[in-house]
């Protein structure tokens, strides 16, 4: 079966398939985003063809082609270009730029992007301990100098007692953010998964705040999502998962602290990375494995194993696994938000989060039990605790 699938997949010359995919993506992006979208596409394409950050075909269990890990770098470059363009070409200034939190928050995100980019350009350039320490330091300083971002309460009685102490609240927020970034990095194991979650999250933030920063992030993440899902050779990398994770953590905590969102809403919006991270840690601890060892026991790996025998193309199975999870987790939150069933300040969102967690556990258990046709050893997941 797998030999036949490989033969069918390889029946077209790779160059032809690549050209077809590029033309299709360019047409789709022009329709959705016009000339500006084509500009972002050209930038992403140019970075994907550069030798820096290139992964060879043999290093991926699922991908039969060479790929690039510079998706995060492309997102950062596109985002900065859009922002610089808005600042330079517009007679007005960004409203957010006068916010006291703006500079410390984005400096922290930038530190995380640099840490991730160092890993993308040269693996193990910085030791895991150095990266972990740098992230703890960056977020520790951020929360120390901007205490307004630290929530006084999050709507959970037991935790609210801890948040009453400023020092404990600072420590919890620092640990939470570093853990969340690693959870985001861990979840980045299938096409369209983390980019999909980030696109939905920034879309909601844009609808809530309506600022150019959120608009640019939504715009760029959506274009990357299309590129990532359709091409299958351009990945977010550590720079992207660290950077997007840090930005969402900052937005989430600031939103909760200001009362714009409930903590339950943010938990529901970003449920998959959080739940998958916690479940993976518990699973490895129970199996006696190291919690930092990469493995293929994530839900997206199991889902890929479910789709793989059905579809000829590995890219289709990979992308479907990622999109299914992002739509069934953050997508549900988006649907409820758009329909206006629950206000974003409501603590009822904790109930939605509980349902999402239950769904995760049920689907995971079902997929594990029905594992038969293909091993989920896809090489998709790359767990990196730091």
């Amino acid at each position: 079966m797998s030999v036949l699938r490989q033969k069918l997949s390889d029946s077209l010359p790779t160059s032809n398939k690549t050209v077809h995919a590029l033309i299709m993506m360019a047409m789709l992006l022009f329709l959705a985003f016009g000339i500006t979208g084509l500009g972002v596409f050209a930038l992403m394409y140019s970075l994907s063809t550069m030798s820096a950050g290139n992964d060879s075909a043999t290093s991926h269990g699922i991908s039969s082609m060479s790929s690039s890990r510079l998706g995060g770098v492309a997102i950062v470059m596109s985002f900065l270009l859009l922002l610089i363009g808005i600042i330079v070409l517009s007679p007005s200034t960004l409203g957010a730029a006068v916010n006291a939190i703006f500079l410390p928050a984005w400096s922290t995100v930038f530190v995380c992007v640099i840490l991730g980019a160092s890993e993308d350009f040269k693996a193990d350039l910085l030791s895991p301990f150095v990266r972990l320490a740098a992230k703890l330091l960056a977020f520790g300083i951020f929360f120390w100098i901007t205490p307004g971002v630290v929530p006084d309460a999050i709507g959970v009685p037991l935790l609210d007692g801890l948040f009453a102490s400023p020092v404990l609240a600072w420590a919890i927020c620092t640990l939470f953010c570093v853990g969340f970034i690693n959870a985001f990095n861990m979840a980045d194991g299938a096409n369209g998964l983390v980019p999909g979650i980030a696109t939905i999250a920034f879309g909601i933030l844009f609808l809530e705040y309506g600022g150019p920063i959120e608009g640019a992030l939504f715009f760029v993440c959506l274009i990357f999502l299309i590129f990532n899902v359709l091409s299958g050779w351009f990945f977010l990398g550590d720079a992207g998962s660290y950077g997007l994770g840090a930005a969402l953590a900052c937005y989430g905590l600031q939103g909760v602290a200001q009362g714009d969102f409930s903590a339950g809403f943010m938990a529901s919006l970003l449920s998959y990375p959080c739940v998958d991270f916690l479940v993976s840690i518990v699973r490895r601890a129970r199996e006696g494995d190291s919690p930092i060892r990469p493995d293929n026991g994530h839900l997206h790996n199991w889902l890929y194993g479910f789709y793989a025998p059905i579809f000829i193309s590995r890219v289709v199975s990979n992308s479907l696994a990622g999109l299914t999870i992002s739509l069934c987790s953050s997508g549900v939150c988006l649907l409820i938000y758009l329909s206006g069933w629950l206000p974003v300040e409501s603590n009822t969102w904790f109930g939605v989060f509980a349902l999402q967690t239950a769904l995760y556990l049920v689907v995971r258990s079902r997929l594990k039990n029905t594992k038969s046709v293909e091993s989920p050893d896809t090489g998709l997941g790359h767990f990196d605790l730091t």
């Binding site: 329709l31 979208g37 500009g39 596409f41 930038l43 808005i86 517009s90 007679p91 916010n99 715009f219």
Partner: protein
């Protein structure tokens, strides 16, 4: 390698062209007194060519939010229109 740099340059120029179009759109909206003529003109051909269907909606949302004053300023949502208006106490005759 040269192709990559050429694509990068083309990409940057196209992006700046698009951003320039959106900022001039916002400027025209302010000049027109935010009467909705720019923000509601989502599906004009020129605009669609510049930012596409999704981008055009995002641009309209940006213009409308700016018009309503939904700008994060010092962490508090303030109304630009409200800031520009003179308070009743200042308007009262002395």
């Amino acid at each position: 390698m040269k192709k990559s740099w050429l694509a990068l340059l083309v990409g940057v120029l196209l992006m700046l062209w698009g951003v320039s179009g959106v900022t001039s759109m916002a400027t025209r909206a302010v000049a027109a007194g935010n009467d909705g003529s720019v923000a509601n003109n989502v599906y004009s051909v020129k605009r669609l060519a510049l930012v596409g269907i999704v981008g055009s909606n995002v641009a309209s949302e940006l213009i409308q939010h700016d018009q309503d004053g939904m700008v994060l300023d010092n962490g508090v949502r303030t109304s630009r229109q409200a800031q520009n208006q003179t308070s009743p106490a200042e308007e009262a005759p002395k």
